[in-house]
Each structure stands twice: as structure tokens, then as C-alpha cells.
């Protein structure tokens, strides 16, 4: 969207931010209106996190900020100053997928893949808060993440599988 320029020069006032993304600290100057999702995608250059709407409804941009699942379109980059952020790219360790990623693969919890990064991050956040959810709790917990392909059936199955594998 903004090219590869780490400096988001949108005119007017700029503020310094320092955000740790997947363990690596990124310093940048941002316009106050810059959303965290744009900072991650454009300034940091990690495009796994997607934007699916403009009303904070779809959850495709869900990431973890200081360990909590949040919609990164609903947070300004300046609000994330000093925070530690994890995106889909930061989940696998040494080429080994996170158990939630494995569960999505084994249960066909994704089709076109667009909602997937946000869905996986939200699902991990859900299990962090409620390690052994019921199906109903998984459905309620993922209400803020929209998927048009899977009918949620296999997403719910994936999350329950990841929970029972713990």
C-alpha cells in the first residue's frame, strides 16, 4: 500500500514508535492516524496479516499484542509503542508449526486462506483464556472473525482439536 518505505510519511505531524514484532524491534516515525495493521504490513513488511473490512468486523487483521489477541485495525500504531506484537509469521518455531497451525491443516480449517492468519491468532487467544472450551464457547469466542469459505465447521473442529491436544 505504501511501498517498502519504512517511513510512513503521510504529511503533517509524525511520532516516533518502537514496536517489537515477532521478537525484532522496529523503530519508525508514523503519522498519528496510522493503524497498527498498516504499520505491520507496510513499515515492517509482514503481509500475512490481512485487512478484510473497514469497520473492525471481520478480524482478518487479528494479531497478539502483549500476549492478547487484538484486531490490529482497531489500534493505532502509536498506541502500540513499546508493545510486543506477534503475527502469523511469528508462530512457527524453527520450521515447526504451532499446534494451532497444525490443527488447522489437519482439519481443513482453511480454504482461500484470507481470514486464516487472523483466525489462527484469535483461536490461540481464545485457548489462552479458556484452554478447554466447549463447541459453543469456541463459536462465541470466534464471533468477531469472519470466514466466507469454510462455514466455520472445520475451524471450530480445528480449535477443539488443538485444545484437546494440549
Amino acid at each position: 500500500m505504501f511501498g517498502n518505505d519504512a517511513e510512513l510519511n503521510m504529511g503533517g505531524l509524525k511520532m516516533k514508535v518502537s514496536i517489537t514484532v515477532n521478537g525484532k524491534t522496529h523503530d519508525g516515525d508514523v503519522e498519528p492516524r496510522t493503524l497498527l495493521v498498516h504499520y505491520i504490513r507496510e513499515a515492517v513488511g509482514l503481509t500475512g496479516t490481512n485487512v478484510g473490512c473497514d469497520t473492525s468486523s471481520c478480524g482478518a487483521c487479528t494479531i497478539h499484542m502483549n500476549g492478547e489477541a487484538v484486531k490490529s485495525c482497531t489500534i493505532l500504531a502509536v498506541q502500540a509503542d513499546g508493545a510486543s506484537v506477534t503475527t502469523i509469521e511469528g508462530l512457527a518455531k524453527d520450521g515447526v508449526m504451532h499446534p494451532m497451525q497444525t490443527a488447522f491443516m489437519e482439519n481443513h480449517g482453511l480454504q482461500c486462506g484470507y481470514c486464516t492468519p487472523g483466525m489462527v491468532m484469535a483461536a490461540i487467544g481464545l485457548l489462552n483464556e479458556n484452554p478447554k472450551p466447549t463447541e459453543e464457547e469456541v463459536r462465541l469466542g470466534l464471533e468477531g472473525n469472519l470466514c466466507r469459505c469454510t462455514g466455520y465447521h472445520n475451524i471450530v473442529k480445528s480449535v477443539l482439536a488443538a485444545a484437546s491436544a494440549k
Partner: protein, 762 residues
């Protein structure tokens, strides 16, 4: 894993990428060297539904920060061009003189960065002289105000106008003991792929390169050629990962078709990406068909006559949605039933709304919804169980073709078996008993059971063929080139499975290429549930032929007769029959063919006909009679798509289809006010279905192979939507039938359900 793996639950090859770094959608292509220095296109859109444009003043836009250029139709030399479906209807990609729906393009603003474009378009001044807004099809049919004056009418297509027989009215029912009529609105919905549209274009040595989020690169190439007035050979269309399409990304739209022209004017690459709010009014919508039905028969339950009068809302432009009613709804109007007398007329009408395109099912969900609701009304009228009435009227099992009264020829069908299986899993009679109990007790929360039996048409879009190429590289790996275009359907895995089952090459060693017209010049794309039965079968065909050629080369290498050479598909090795210890690998054979490029073979599979998947769905819902709130409790789906290549992927297609069908039945509607202002232009206002409104889905497998292709496969991409929508709608109505309710239009929102109960008891 090698050898014959068809029918196995194979995990998807494409998933690790999507799960670890995410897909590479067009918006993610910041490192594409050809996009370096790209300018961004933002469109100025009509804010009124129907108006003459009296002034376009973009002077303040031009001085907005970052603006490089602004273009109107005149600036780009655009002219009005006829619709592919009605030559009298003409419009240009940027409006000339008139706008016909909110969201139609008026001008383009070019900026260094996209945010500057969003700021700049706010400064455009467009003066309008408003015209009567026509948002209702019947209003538009009868209005003197015309969207396209040259048509002389707002009716842009009709079966009667095309010479098909008209409906004969009440005469059709004169011998019937029971006759029931209904008016159903199969409402307008928004396809909502999670990835909105995006595209980029640049000219390299006189050749236009365009990246686009599409379901059909080869089709788009033709449209781009027309828009830029150049030969198709001068164009390369490239498809990045596509975040869902559902039919709405089959054709290219004005936003994309203008980019080549704009890039040429600027001498620079250009990029465009829509916001969700733009997408909601400019990506084509689906359904929007008003239906009048009459059904008649005996008191004992035999249906003898059925008549459908479908009025299709085309929206503000004569797009593919216009032709779905006559060519998809009408042929399927008879459904699974043996009905002696049947008639269907369709009329397509332009209105001041977003144009209608193909949306998952595309004309068949409308046909199924009409006949299934009609069956329910008929059953209610004679006081019989809706499942029983269906069973009395089903076309009996046929394993060779069956010609319907409306004039279509189905391949194979066993509708009764599908209904039996679904009813058994649903424990239908127990559910009816529980329903009776709740009714007797007068429970606040009532149970509703909806039944639908459907047949649909897949792979029915001409030409019914697909291209495939297989290249075994000197290192023994294979690359499959396909004219289909996956965007969630898992072709990489399924096509690799098919190629592997013929060649014995491990699926891990098979790559699949699609969507780049320089690499795959011919292809029909992915739509109409055609991919496996034509594209997959083409992969099988070229793989079989390649193995035959390879056996000749292996015979040379092994100094044996060709007829003695066998391919061990479990290892992918060629040897003389009975002597497996001395063998030649695919790598050996490919190197022999050509040390550099290996073995290449391509071909086309031509299908003799479409296929007609069928099934039965049962939905069980709870309805709170005090609030109208519906809870979808159980969904049982028996869908027969012939032989199954990968049950994992099959189930996924069924689940997704059912979610979209349920969404239409319960929640979703794209709405306008009477002035033609859209009311549901984002995901906060449009009630996109979430995990909370859906139950886990109970899928029943049934395989009746078709004789139409050697794999015995039919399409499954849309069946779930077609079967589920009327089942869920009927379940809601069934829950409150004892209160006097006979019909509730979709979406069956709490307000509508509550009102229906209130009106029935008033």
C-alpha cells in the same frame, strides 16, 4: 504417498504457506519489481441512484496533496459500449452523462499513495439532476423512466421475448383438485469474499501486464483486450492468490478494465484496491429474483402442474445475472419432481441498484427455492407431511439419462435414496414427535423441520471442456498446468492426487500452475462447479497419455518391447513385467525425452454434457415465538457429487456452501431505501454470518458416479448452497405453521418471524 490415492483424505499441499506466512494476495505484492513506482488509482463514485450528470468539477481534486492526475471518460477517450447480453444497453467504464446506481464510477484520481486518493476524492464536485430511482423490479417493469433509453424498456431479457413458450395462466391447473399460489422474494445478497478486489497494470515493451484477483484469467484477458482495443496476445494476465470469489470474481469490472488505459496515459504502473465499503456497492450482487408460483395436484398429494414466473433484477447494468434466470433457473425449475405439466417464464429487468452477477449457485438456488417452497405450500394445503409429499412426487431412480418436462436431460439420479439417508440421520419421525409435543404444550420455543430435495446443474457453461498440460522435469518432479483457477478449492492437492494416481509420482513432487495466461493460455477458470469434472479430468487424461508415451521411452531404455513395459504406480518406476528389480525412473525417461525440458504433454478434455448433482438437506431449528429469534440447531446434508477424489475437500465445499445458504435463509440481505441509497454497505450493517449462527454440519456421503466423464465426478462447489437455503427457510416457517403462518420471505429475521406470527394470529 504414491500410487492410487483417489478417494483418500489427503491434507492440502497449499496449507503450510497460508498458515505460516499467509497467502500472497495482490495487496501483498509490495516486492514485485514491476510495481516499482506504481501510482494508485481511486475512483470517484456516484452518490445517487439515478441521475443525469450536469457537472463534473475536479479542480479541487487536482490540487489535493499527492494527486498526479484525474481522468473522466472524456479524458480517457472512453465511449459507451454495448452489453454482451443486450446490445441496445450501452454504457462506458466511467459514466457519460448519466449514473444508474450508487457506486457507479464517474472519474479516476491518481495519486502517489492510496491514502492521498481517499482524501482527494472528497474534494470532487459532481452536480446531478436526479431521475426517478427504480429499486423494485415490478416498479421498473412498469415505469416510463428508462435506465437505457435505447432499449425502449427496462426489460432487458425475457424467455417470451426470446421465443420460449409463455405461461398459460390458470388453464394449466383446471384439472387440479388443489391449487396453491405464492409470491417469494429470493432476496439480493452480497457475495463478500474476504479479500475485496485488487488489480495492478503496467506496459512492458508494448505488452500489457495485469494482475487481478480473479476466478478466470483467460476470460479476463479477452475483456482487457476489448477495453484496451488490443489483441489478446498483447496481454498477460497474472492471478495472485485469490481470497475467495464465489462467482463475483469471474468477470472483470470497470475498475479493473480501466487500469491499462490509465497506465498507458501515465506511462507508469498503476495499482488499485477497493475498500470493503466500495466492494459492497461495486462487486456484483447475487440472487434478487422475485418469484410467483402456482402448484396444483390431487388431494392425495400427487403434484400434476407447476408454474413459475420469475422476475430477475439485473441491477443497473446488463451483466451475467440477467441471463441466469432464463438459462439456469428455468431449466432447473422442475427440480427433482415428476410433474406432468410445467411452465416457467423469466423476465430480467434493470433497476438502479448494483448489477447482479453469478453468486454461488447462480440461478439454481433460485429454482430450487421456488419449487421447494411450492412443495411445502402444497403439503400444508392438503395437510400432509412435506417429506412424504416430496417422496410421492420424486423422479424414480435412473442410471441413464432422464429428460425432464421442461426440456433438460439429467445424467443420473437417485433422489429417494438421498432423502431416505438424510431422514434417517435426522431421526425425522422423532423430530416430528418432539415438535408435536412442543406444540401441544404451547412451548415458547418451537421446533421447526425443513426438508429440501434438490438437483442442480454443474459444468454446464460452454465450452464444456478444459485444457491441461503435464511436464515431467529431468529431475523427476512434475508440473501440472491447468485452465481452472483455484481460490480456496484445493486444486493444487486434488490435481496432484489425480496426476499422481496415474503417474506414480509422489504428490509432494507435483506442482500445479494456473492463472498466468502466458503459462496457461487456454482455460475456462473456476466457476459453475466445473473444475474437477472438466479440469481434473483433463489432468487425468494428459497424465494417462503421458504415461503411454513414457512407456515407449522406457522400452527403449530397457531394450524391451513396449507392450511388456509396466509402470509401478506405487514407486513411479517403469520395468518389464515380472522383472521389477531392473527399472527406469521418471527422471530417466524425462531426460531421455529432453535433457533440458523433460517430457511435456498437453491436451483438452471435452465433456459431452453437464452433470446433475443432487441431494437432500434437513434443517432443524428452534424459533422463539415471543421474539422471533431463530436458532439453527441441526443441519443434515446428503449431497451426491459422484465419485469423491478427496473427502476432506468435498466436506469443506459442502460446509461452506451450507453456511452461505443458511446466511441467505436467516440473515443476509443487501438493502436499499426507496431513493436507491444502499443501507448495508459494510460488515457492520450487512449481517454476514458468523460461527455463532451455525451448527456443526452433519454430512452424509453418497456416491452415484456419472457416466459423463471417466472419473465419474460431478461438481460440489455450489450444492451446499442450493440444498440448504430452502431447508433452513422452510424449517423456520415449519416451526410456526401451527400458528397459521404459511410463508416468510428470506431472510427470516426475528422481526419478520415475529411479524408473521403476529399477523397470523391477528
Amino acid at each position: 504417498m504414491a500410487g492410487s490415492i483417489l478417494g483418500n483424505r489427503v491434507l492440502r499441499k497449499e496449507d503450510p504457506k497460508f498458515l505460516t506466512s499467509g497467502g500472497k494476495y495482490i495487496e501483498d505484492m509490495n516486492d514485485e519489481p514491476l510495481f516499482a513506482g506504481a501510482l494508485h488509482v481511486t475512483y470517484i463514485r456516484s452518490t445517487v441512484a439515478h441521475a443525469k450528470i450536469t457537472k463534473i468539477d475536479l479542480s479541487d481534486c487536482k490540487t489535493s496533496p499527492g494527486v498526479v492526475a484525474v481522468f473522466t471518460a472524456q479524458d480517457l477517450g472512453l465511449e459507451e459500449e454495448p452489453s454482451n447480453f443486450n446490445a441496445s444497453a450501452k454504457r462506458a467504464h466511467l459514466a457519460i452523462g448519466k449514473v444508474r446506481w450508487v457506486g457507479e464510477l464517474i472519474a479516476a484520481v491518481i495519486t502517489e499513495r492510496p491514502d492521498q486518493g481517499e482524501d482527494a476524492i472528497e474534494r470532487a464536485v459532481i452536480d446531478y439532476e436526479t431521475l426517478e430511482p427504480l429499486t423494485d423490479v415490478e416498479q421498473a417493469m412498469n415505469s416510463k423512466t428508462l435506465l437505457y433509453e435505447e432499449c425502449g424498456t427496462n426489460i432487458v431479457m425475457g424467455t417470451v421475448e426470446m421465443g420460449m413458450p409463455d405461461n398459460t395462466g390458470d388453464d394449466l391447473f383446471k384439472d387440479c383438485e388443489v391449487v396453491v399460489s405464492g409470491r417469494f422474494m429470493n432476496q439480493r445478497v452480497a457475495p463478500c469474499p474476504l479479500e475485496a478486489r485488487g488489480s495492478a497494470a503496467t506496459w512492458i515493451d508494448g505488452r500489457l501486464h495485469q494482475w487481478i484477483s480473479t476466478q478466470h484469467a483467460q476470460g479476463v484477458r479477452g475483456e482487457v483486450a476489448k477495453a484496451n482495443k488490443i489483441d489478446a496476445e498483447k496481454i498477460r494476465i497474472i492471478t495472485p492468490d485469490v481470497g475467495g470469489g464465489f462467482g463475483a470474481k469471474i468477470s472483470a469490472y470497470s475498475e479493473e478494465l480501466l487500469l491499462g488505459n490509465i497506465s498507458k496515459h501515465l506511462g507508469k504502473p498503476v495499482r488499485w484496491r477497493e475498500t470493503r465499503s466500495e466492494s459492497m456497492v461495486s462487486l456484483g450482487h447475487g440472487r434478487a429474483q422475485l418469484q410467483y408460483i402456482t402448484i396444483g395436484g390431487t388431494k392425495a398429494g400427487r403434484v400434476t402442474a407447476y408454474q413459475l414466473n420469475a422476475i430477475q433484477d439485473s441491477g443497473g447494468w446488463v451483466e451475467v445475472g440477467t441471463v441466469l434466470a432464463p438459462f439456469m433457473t428455468r431449466p432447473m425449475s422442475q427440480g427433482v419432481y415428476d410433474i406432468e405439466k410445467i411452465e416457467c417464464r423469466t423476465t430480467s429487468v434493470v433497476t438502479n441498484t448494483t448489477p447482479i452477477v453469478a453468486y454461488r449457485g447462480a440461478g439454481r438456488p433460485e429454482a430450487t427455492a421456488a419449487i421447494e417452497r411450492a412443495m411445502d405450500l402444497f403439503a400444508a394445503e392438503i395437510g400432509k407431511d412435506p417429506a412424504e409429499v416430496r417422496r410421492m412426487n420424486l423422479i424414480p431412480k435412473f442410471m441413464q439419462t432422464h429428460k425432464t418436462k421442461i426440456g433438460h436431460t439429467y445424467d443420473v439420479g437417485d433422489y429417494g435414496a438421498a432423502l431416505d439417508k438424510a431422514m434417517a440421520v435426522a431421526k425425522y419421525s422423532e423430530a416430528r414427535a418432539e415438535q408435536a409435543e412442543r406444540r401441544k404444550r404451547g412451548d415458547k420455543v418451537q421446533l421447526g423441520i425443513g426438508v429440501s430435495v434438490y438437483v442442480e446443474i454443474t459444468g454446464g457453461v460452454d465450452p464444456m471442456q478444459e485444457h491441461a498440460k503435464i511436464n515431467v522435469l529431468p529431475n523427476g518432479r512434475a508440473v501440472v498446468y491447468t485452465g481452472t483457477s483455484p481460490h480456496g478449492q484445493g486444486h493444487v492437492t486434488s490435481w496432484a492426487m489425480i496426476a499422481s494416481s496415474e503417474t506414480g509420482i509422489d504428490i509432494a513432487d507435483i506442482d500445479v500452475v494456473w492463472g498466468d495466461t502466458d503459462l496457461v493460455p487456454n482455460g475456462g477458470g473456476t466457476m459453475g462447479s466445473r473444475s474437477l469434472q472438466q479440469g481434473g479430468v483433463a489432468v487425468q487424461k494428459v497424465s494417462i497419455e503421458l504415461v503411454d508415451q513414457a512407456r515407449k521411452l522406457a522400452a527403449q531404455l530397457l531394450e524391451a518391447n513396449e507392450s511388456d513395459i509396466v509402470l509401478d504406480k506405487s514407486t513411479g518406476a517403469f520395468h518389464v513385467a515380472g522383472t521389477p528389480s531392473i527399472s527406469k525412473s521418471w527422471s530417466d525417461v524425462a531426460k531421455t525425452a529432453d535433457a533440458k525440458s523433460g517430457m511435456i504433454h498437453d491436451g483438452i478434455f471435452v465433456a459431452n454434457s453437464a452433470t446433475f448433482p443432487f441431494g437432500a438437506h434437513i434443517a432443524i431449528v428452534e424459533v422463539d415465538t415471543e421474539t422471533g429469534q431463530v436458532k439453527h440447531r441441526r443441519h443434515i446434508a446428503c449431497d451426491d457429487a459422484g465419485k469423491v477424489v478427496n473427502p476432506l475437500i468435498l466436506d469443506g465445499q459442502i460446509h461452506g456452501g451450507i453456511a452461505q445458504g443458511t446466511a441467505q435463509a436467516l440473515l443476509e440481505e443487501f438493502r436499499y431505501d426507496s431513493d436507491g441509497n444502499p443501507l448495508t454497505t459494510n460488515f457492520a450493517d450487512y449481517t454476514f454470518i458468523s460461527a455463532v449462527e451455525l451448527p456443526s454440519i452433519e454430512v452424509i456421503h453418497m456416491e452415484t458416479p456419472t457416466f459423463v466423464n471417466p472419473l465419474g465426478v460431478k461438481g460440489i462447489g455450489e450444492s451446499g448452497t442450493i440444498g440448504s437455503t430452502p431447508a433452513v427457510q422452510s424449517a423456520v416457517i415449519d416451526a410456526v405453521m401451527h400458528l397459521g403462518v404459511r410463508h416468510i420471505d428470506m431472510p427470516t429475521t426475528p422481526e419478520r418471524v415475529w411479524s408473521a406470527i403476529a399477523n397470523a394470529s391477528a
